[in-house]
Amino acid sequence: MSNKYTRQARLKLNRPSLRERARPPKQRTSIGHMFTTANYSGVLVMQHCQQCGLVQYPSREICQNCLDGKLIWRETSTTGHILSSIELHHSLWEYFKRRLVDAPWPIATVKLDNGATVFSHLYLASFREKSLENLTKGTDVQVFSHSDSSLNSVLIAVCATCDIAQLKDRTTIAQAMGLTAAAIKPGGI
């Protein structure tokens, strides 16, 4: 067996598509990890500027308004409205590729009442219509954070009247979306 052959075989076995368990993207910046940590103990936690009070998202080092360098992680309002929503039929990431086999993956950009614009997973089943066509711009939603199976905090948008006050309610939603479990390939390595 030549070196070239073993190298190719090793590379082939290392392909994520052959692994048994695939998880959502794990990589974050150091501030992204701080977002995750801050959200372990809250419904939705974002940075607030200590000087001007502006809520910052995506998380950053410096206030985008007044350039103050002290941003404080604090609970913020979960309410907002949809700006645009779509279903993904294609993904660059193995975890989502596996989820997409069953159904397209809905996401949305949401304008929170605190001023921030967020990307979020969209829990379609929570809406009465259960289809994207009716989730037009301006539809009221709530956004909360939950850890995914890579142990990062991610944002989930649900209908405005859903009960999300209790952690168990939020966890039920994240589980129903499949976010808290790895995507399994039977017989994978």
């Binding site: 992204g32 995506p58 779509i86 990431w93 614009t117």
Partner: protein, 408 residues
């Protein structure tokens, strides 16, 4: 709240003249879907082609501007040792689809001020197996933390959201975007290096293609590939003296992160300087013979038609219904505007940062009469527009220039 830049302040500003600066030696090299070569190879082969086309030696090149996503640990200065150049002016422009026009602006000033005499401007990128996934997943800090984790759609996801919003707001239909994609494919059918140029595209194929994200289907998305695009900049006097075919810069401008107050992107910085661009050039919209927009998705070309003054905001769908966008003006529509004459990225392929130079290179070819089967007849003025860097929910960079043919 976020400060938005006052439009007034921007409109009152005209960049200085670009008089006396010439563009020569439009060169496109080695478009391929996948390659084992690295970025230095594509940039180096582009430089080689430029030098062979002009008879200029490496020694005479005293300026180098480069854009690439795949240089890894290297920057433009490392490349000087790869190619053994000794420039006294270097510049790196990591601005994606706006890189080419921004390079042109920076290099023009260097030539006008005498900081350099002959500047090579090159965009080049590699395409290793699965390298696009890496670029998309690590595109920016905001991408890593706040957009890629949501489905990992990459730029397709961001642009699907923008396209969806634009369609709902302005009544654009997929058939309207098809007109852009189909006429570009027609142009690519006459430009052999285009990676999809050997295939035709029908409206039926476009509408029924595989779904990618929201309203985007397969033929709304570019094919990532490897390749290089470049040209040389020098004084007009020098171009004449060397007997090179050249074109000139009538006007150019750029503006980044404009309209931060827009909830979803439906315009970019062009809207703030398009008028000043035509003023500086002493031209009207009707004088533009060729328009090259940055077409990573059809919706962004449509937004450029609007922001660059070819039609009003929201009138893009109506504009493409009544406008023939083919290079040879062979369509039935009465209004003619040869657009993305080599097929654009949608049909030629998106060679990373080279895609930010492609439209400029194609325009230089056209205005110097060096295009081949896709030559636009009677073209004196070309407008080239760049757009780039989906940092989070929108593209940040905008840049545009009007080029005019030099005297033969």
């Amino acid at each position: 709240m976020t400060n938005s830049i006052s439009s007034e302040a921007i409109r009152s500003r005209h960049p200085g003249s670009y008089q006396g600066v010439a563009l020569v030696a439009a060169s496109s090299v080695n478009y391929s879907r996948q390659s084992h070569h690295g970025a230095a190879w594509f940039i180096g082969k582009t430089l080689d082609k430029i030098l062979k086309a002009t008879g200029i030696s490496k020694k005479e090149v005293d300026g180098l501007a480069v854009s690439s996503f795949s240089l890894g640990a290297d920057s433009v200065v490392n490349l000087t040792q790869h190619f053994q150049l000794a420039p006294r002016w270097i510049e790196q422009l990591p601005f994606g689809g706006a890189s080419g026009v921004i390079a042109l602006r920076r290099a023009s000033r260097a030539i006008q001020c005498g900081d350099a005499n002959i500047i090579a401007c090159i965009g080049g990128d590699a395409a290793f197996h699965r390298s696009f996934e890496v670029t998309a997943s690590e595109f920016s800090n905001f991408t890593i933390d706040a957009s890629f984790p949501y489905g990992a759609g990459g730029p397709n996801a961001a642009f699907a959201l923008i396209t969806q919003h634009y369609m709902a707001e302005y009544g654009a239909k997929r058939e309207d975007f098809a007109r852009i994609a189909l006429s570009q494919r027609y142009n690519a059918n006459h430009y052999p290096p285009a990676l999809l140029g050997h295939k035709t595209l029908t409206e039926y194929q476009y509408l029924n293609a595989r779904r990618i994200a929201g309203p985007l289907h397969l033929f709304d998305c570019v094919m990532p590939c490897a390749g290089g695009e470049g040209f040389l900049m020098m004084s007009e006097d020098r171009a004449r003296h060397l007997n090179l075919r050249y074109c000139l810069i009538a006007a150019a401008d750029e503006l980044h992160n404009a309209h931060a107050e827009d909830e979803v992107q439906f315009r970019a910085g062009w809207s703030e300087y398009a008028v000043s661009l035509y003023d500086s050039a002493g031209l009207a919209v009707e004088d533009i013979d060729i328009l090259q927009t940055y077409d990573d998705y059809p919706v962004i070309s449509m937004i450029q038609f609007e922001d660059l003054g070819f039609c009003a905001k929201g009138a893009g769908p109506e504009f493409v219904r009544r406008t023939d966008l083919r290079f040879d003006r062979s369509g039935p529509e009465k209004n003619k505007l040869p657009h993305n004459t080599s097929g654009g990225q949608l049909s030629a392929g998106q060679a990373g940062a080279a895609a930010g130079y492609m439209a400029l290179v194609e325009s230089i070819r056209q205005l110097t009469g060096q295009a081949e089967a896709n030559q636009v007849s009677d073209a004196t003025h070309a407008m080239v527009s760049g757009f780039g860097m989906i940092n989070y929910d929108r593209g940040l960079c905008s840049a545009a220039t009007i080029l005019k043919a030099g005297q033969a």
